[in-house]
Structures are given as structure tokens and as C-alpha cells.
Symmetry: C2
Subunit: 115 residues, 2 copies
DNA sequence: GCGATGCGCAACCGGATAGTTGCACGTTCC
DNA sequence: GGAACGTGCAACTATCCGGTTGCGCATCGC
């Protein structure tokens, strides 16, 4: 398990797992989709299009914030949340490294068979 | 929340969430890394490089299998697991759509400011 | 000032999950 | 045949997670 994968250190893997886990929920994925439009939205706004309580949405937003996927800025009496695409881009790059490693393995196998 | 994001239907979102959740664990991420080399490995092999029990590894492999990330094939007395890169590629594409939507929003904002 | 709005905090609940241990069964190999 | 190996199944525990409710506080608008 400590074999060098497409991942860096174990700490890096832990970080990736945290972001994956944050995205591993339907409601949170919907929040990300709602925020991917670029506009910052308040908790109430994000709750209005959902079927669960404002508190539930708040918890989900905190999870996303801890994973770095989302940033919060207080504006008057409302908390406006905004997407931070950096962790998402990092995750995408990570998945790309996994796929790449897989493709290279297939290519090596193919070359071995054809030799 | 039902606003059209980079996601398709709600069912599609549910599926994505399931795969994200499957990857949202350090141990499972390590398993994926170990299997990304292309070779199929038995449970004992995968356990030997880990600090947890074989049973724990087995459970994690079942989770990955349910998410479609991994396939299992019985070979004699051992179960050999192999990576299926399709869901990972799909997730990568999904993250790409999120980033793209974000970039387009930024571009529109920039155009608006400069007009 | 006062009602309405938006939020945070805390407690609580049910179900999922990560992990362990113990045991039984098929398979391989000598 | 018998020992060693690789798995599967079941039970059990502790913890985490998603969700709700209730309450209190700050802020905005009239």
C-alpha cells in the first residue's frame, strides 16, 4: 500500500481523500453545481432550492469549506458562499494521473505481447 | 438546487456522489493507487502493504466494487481485483465540466466589466 | 422601535461505516 | 491425507454522518 502510486505522500493522499469525501454526497454535489455558476449565494438562497433544512445545508457548506472547495464571506446579516475551483482542479489532475498510469500499464502489456 | 448544473439528471448526480464517496477514504485511495499499475492483485497481496486487517481491506474492496471502480474475478482460491478506469474517467470529465462552467462565468464577468 | 429575515449553536436521533475477532470452507502443495 | 494458505460469513463495537428541532442573536426595512 505504500508503493508509489500516482499519489505523492501519504499526507497528500489524506488531503485528496478529504476532498473526495466532501464531494461524496448528493446534496453537497448539488451545492457545488449551484455555486459553479460563479455567483456567491447566501445560505437561504441555497436552501430555497433544496428539500432539506437550512441547518442541514449549513452543515454541508461547512464540510465543503473544510475541504477548501468553498469560501465563506459574511456580508451584513447573511453569509455568502463562493466556489474555489482549485481543489477541484487538483482532484481532476489526480484522476488524470491515475488514468495515465493505467493507460501506460496497458501500453506496456500490449508491447510485451507484440514483441 | 434543481437548477441545471454541469450535472445531468439527479440520478446521474447520485451516481457521481457514490463514486466520489467510494474514493473519499484514505485506505481505498491507497487501494486504487496499488491497482492503478494495471496488475490484478489478490486480497492478501493488497493487505500485506496495509496496516489494517484483511477483513477491513475486503470490505473496502467491496465498496469500490459497488461503485464500479474495481472488478473482482475468482482465480482458484484467491480473489483477484482489477481496476476499471471508466468511472474514474467519468468523474474526471465531470470535474472538468464544473471547472469549465466556472471559467465561463469568470469570462462573462470580465467581459461585463470591460464593456 | 418592531417585526421579519438570516444565521449560529446545541442537543438529539437513526442509520451507515470502519474496524475487529472468531470460525468455517475450499484450494494448493507435499 | 494433512498442513498451510486465501477467503467468506457473522457478530459485535465505536464512531461518524445526515438530518431535525429549538432557541437565541444580529441585522435589515418600515
Amino acid at each position: 500500500m505504500s508503493r508509489a502510486g500516482p499519489d505523492g505522500s501519504a499526507a497528500r493522499r489524506r488531503q485528496h481523500a478529504a476532498v473526495f469525501a466532501a464531494l461524496g454526497d448528493e446534496t453537497r454535489l448539488a451545492l457545488v453545481a449551484a455555486l459553479s455558476g460563479g455567483a456567491a449565494r447566501s445560505i437561504s438562497q441555497l436552501t430555497s432550492t433544496s428539500r432539506v433544512t437550512r441547518q442541514a445545508i449549513t452543515k454541508h457548506l461547512r464540510v465543503l469549506e473544510c475541504a477548501g472547495i468553498v469560501r465563506c464571506a459574511r456580508a451584513g446579516r447573511e453569509s455568502r458562499f463562493e466556489l474555489d475551483p482549485a481543489p477541484i482542479a487538483e482532484l481532476r489532475a489526480y484522476l488524470g494521473r491515475v488514468s495515465e498510469q493505467w493507460d501506460q500499464a496497458l501500453a506496456r502489456l500490449k508491447a510485451l505481447v507484440e514483441s
